[in-house]
């Protein structure tokens, strides 16, 4: 192309000049960018994962969680083991880590077992959804028989079930989270609540109010230095453990910045079975699927079913069990009928909502053992539009209001909207004869 030496030299000079100018422009541009960022004090990042969809739902994992118990000298250690993952290497890795943590978690504080009377280690399943699992592990050790002298500690175990790797706290949040603002506000109200005490007049007062600002500065400094390692989360909130104090981050308040509902979702199921965990639970609400004898929760395009049977009688309570089993068949037949109806008319929506409690015990007024059957609830018919606009917000609100750990009855009151209240039925039976008793 450049046949003469002159042409080649000119080309080389032009090429070199272009290179130098391009480099200079790139450097200048980059420097401006660095300076801008250092002025604002942080690198501006986009959102890497979506936050929480406030009208959305999530699925519980299809995992079995079993409690194991180990009794050693002066130690009672209870911990969980998971099963049901397709990838057994990941399952084993997580189980091994949980077991090792449970056996050793107190050793940082309690160097010599002779220092204490006994040690109890226990676990609580905080979150089990969206391909992640979060446990709170705690230990309590009495130093002597005086109840005021003890060691205690709380830690969090959080896993990504795709890889078996531990989840770090930054992964709970989206990349654009104003983390200082979230931590500062959450820490402020948590510290106030943690330190509020009742005075002699019975009113709550706050001790160490003046030190709260310093404590928050310390917490944010620890976060920024990567020194906050312990936390756990439920579908409603994140509990960050700092120096024996728990800072609670309310997910609803910072929903746009909470990534845990979406970060670890995978296209393929990670589980051997797909019917263990509850599905389509409203975000920011927690449902326990193993508290009741029977629970049927379904959210589909044309129907919503939320039915619970609370039955905790002895296994020899054959009469009550017969009632329960019959009721379950009846409920499932009803659901089938609703499914058929919605196939015929896709504009219709049905809500089937019942709480049933069956109990055999002594009826004090009669001094006699009776089986009581109490049912509350109703089946409601409406349009899909009415459900979405008026009824679903009531269901979402009720679910979110439930405290974690409480066994709520999940009976919704739509009377303001539908002019129809939940119906209540109470019946008593003689468990030996099956005879209905009128009280």
């Amino acid at each position: 192309m450049f046949k003469t030496i002159k042409a080649q030299i000119i080309f080389s000079i032009v090429f070199s000049v272009i290179c130098i100018i391009t480099t200079a422009i790139l450097i200048a541009y980059q420097k401006i960018d660095i300076e801008e960022n250092s002025k604002t004090g942080e690198i501006i990042k986009g959102k890497d994962v979506k936050g929480i969809d406030l009208n959305g739902t999530y699925n519980q994992n299809d995992l079995e969680i079993e409690e194991k118990s180990v009794s050693l000298a002066k130690r009672e250690i209870r911990y969980f083991q998971i099963s049901g993952l397709k990838n057994k290497n990941i399952e084993n890795k997580i189980n091994k880590e949980i077991e090792e943590t449970a056996l050793n978690c107190y050793k940082d504080k309690i160097k010599n077992i002779d220092e204490v009377v006994n040690i109890q280690v226990s676990m609580w399943e905080a979150g089990n959804f969206a391909n992640t699992i979060s446990f709170e592990m705690s230990y309590y050790a009495k130093i002597d028989n005086n109840e005021d002298d003890f060691y205690q500690g709380v830690l969090g175990l959080n896993y990504d079930l795709n890889t078996g790797e531990k989840i770090t706290i930054d992964k709970i949040f989206t990349s654009d989270t104003p983390i200082e603002n979230v931590l500062r506000n959450s820490a402020y109200y948590s510290l106030i609540k943690n330190n509020a005490k009742e005075n002699l007049a019975g009113n709550l007062t706050i001790s160490d109010y003046g030190n709260i600002e310093d404590r928050i500065a310390e917490i944010i400094h620890k976060y920024k230095s990567g020194k906050i390692k312990e936390f756990y989360y439920t579908p409603k909130d994140i509990s960050i453990i700092i120096d024996d104090e728990i800072i609670n981050v309310n997910m609803e308040e910072y929903s746009e910045y909470i990534a845990i509902y979406n970060r670890y979702i995978s296209e393929e199921s990670l589980y051997e079975n797909n019917d263990i965990g509850m599905k389509k639970i409203y975000t920011l609400s927690k449902r326990n699927n193993n508290l009741f004898y029977y629970q049927n929760y379904q959210k589909e395009n044309n129907y919503f079913v939320d039915i619970t049977i609370d039955f905790q009688s002895a296994s020899t309570d054959y009469f009550a069990k017969e009632i329960v089993d019959k009721k379950i068949i009846q409920i499932e037949n009803e659901i089938e009928k609703i499914k058929q109806k919605t196939l015929e008319n896709t504009n219709e929506f049905y809500v089937m909502n019942y709480y049933i409690i069956i109990y055999t015990g002594e009826e004090s007024s009669l001094n006699e053992t009776l089986t009581s059957y109490h049912e509350i609830g109703n089946t409601y018919e409406m349009t899909v539009h009415d459900f979405e606009e008026n009824i679903e917000p009531i269901i979402i609100k009720y679910n979110r209001q439930q405290e974690i750990g409480n066994s709520a009855n999940y009976i919704y009151d739509f009377s303001d909207m539908l002019k129809l209240e939940p119906q209540s039925v109470t019946e008593y039976y003689n468990p030996n004869t099956g005879e209905k008793i009128v009280l």
């Binding site: 030299i9 130098i20 501006i44 109200y189 609540k193 709550l204 600002e213 310093d214």
Partner: protein, 305 residues
């Protein structure tokens, strides 16, 4: 023919060299300019002979940065635990503390050391300013000190009265006895009485409720205050805007030069009888040295020297 070949090869080599030089220049000038400028350390101590440092929480990151740099340890491995503020000088008196990083000792603290027949040496280490901030969307850039006083005494309640939009001012305060609230009263309000702060009711559990002074929530019409170090570390920077006071912006440079004059300092306090060659004096000198001041700047503080 031979010459032409040589020239061709030379030209190709020159072009390749220029491309390499450009790439190297780009990497050098862009990647870690700040790191090259700020990463300086001087190992003066081992972990064992490093003096025992105590202080107020606002200086904790400073103390950790000094220890990490002067002992050559990673900052992640440094975990200093300060004692309570009221016990600060007790430690110095009874020999459990070698150096305190704190605000200027109060009269009560000065009396305490005097009563124990101890003389102290107070050396300023870094500067600290008192700043006001608003949501970054708030059009207000500057307020006078009088306007600030009027806002916080309750005389100005709408932004339109001071050149802003027609909306009420949410003037956040800090809890009584907090470090920032004391700063607000001592440096800004002085003899002007602050209005009673609005409270927010929160529930401790389902039954017990409590009225608290709400924490700054960065609403579009909010204003808050804090010390510069707190404001730049505890608040997400691209969500707030630091206000100029009487036309002076609280920039790093303006605080360092003293142009922004709502300011104070953090000091190192040691016993006056410390030996000239002691580790404590060695640390004190290191803190005020150029390297020490660079460490302070890197940790987010305003250099004093």
């Amino acid at each position: 023919m031979q010459n032409t070949k040589v020239i061709k090869v030379l030209l190709i080599i020159i072009m390749i060299l220029i491309v390499i030089a450009c790439i190297v220049a780009y990497i050098c000038f862009t990647s870690d300019i700040t790191i090259i400028e700020t990463k300086r350390e001087e190992i003066l101590f081992s972990k064992n002979n490093y003096p025992r440092v105590d202080g107020i929480t606002a200086t904790l990151p400073l103390a950790e940065a000094f220890e990490a740099n002067f002992t050559g340890n990673n900052i992640d491995t440094i975990d200093i635990e300060y004692s309570n503020e009221e016990d600060l000088y007790t430690g110095l008196i009874n020999g459990n503390t070698d150096l305190i990083l704190s605000k200027y000792p109060s009269e009560e603290q000065r009396n305490l050391v005097k009563e124990n027949n101890i003389e102290i040496e107070i050396v300023p280490i870094v500067k600290e300013a008192f700043v006001f901030f608003v949501n970054k969307e708030n059009p207000i850039e500057n307020l006078t000190l009088d306007q600030i006083k009027n806002i916080y005494s309750g005389n100005i309640i709408n932004w339109k009265d001071i050149g802003g939009e027609d909306c009420g001012i949410i003037a956040y305060q800090k809890p009584e006895d907090s470090y920032s609230q004391s700063g607000m009263i001592e440096l800004v309000m002085k003899n002007t009485k602050m209005m009673k702060p609005k409270t927010k009711t929160i529930s401790q559990n389902t039954i017990d409720i409590i009225d608290v002074i709400p924490e700054y929530n960065n609403e579009k019409n909010a204003i808050g205050y804090a010390y510069y170090y707190y404001a730049t570390t505890m608040y997400t920077q691209n969500t707030i805007k630091l206000l100029s006071i009487d036309g002076i912006k609280p920039t790093y440079e303006n605080i360092q030069t003293g142009l922004y004059n709502l300011q104070t300092q953090y000091y190192a306090i040691i016993r006056k009888d410390e030996n000239e060659n002691s580790n404590v004096r060695k640390l004190l000198n290191a803190m005020t040295s150029k390297i020490g001041q660079n460490i302070a700047k890197e940790a987010g503080y305003v250099q004093n020297y």
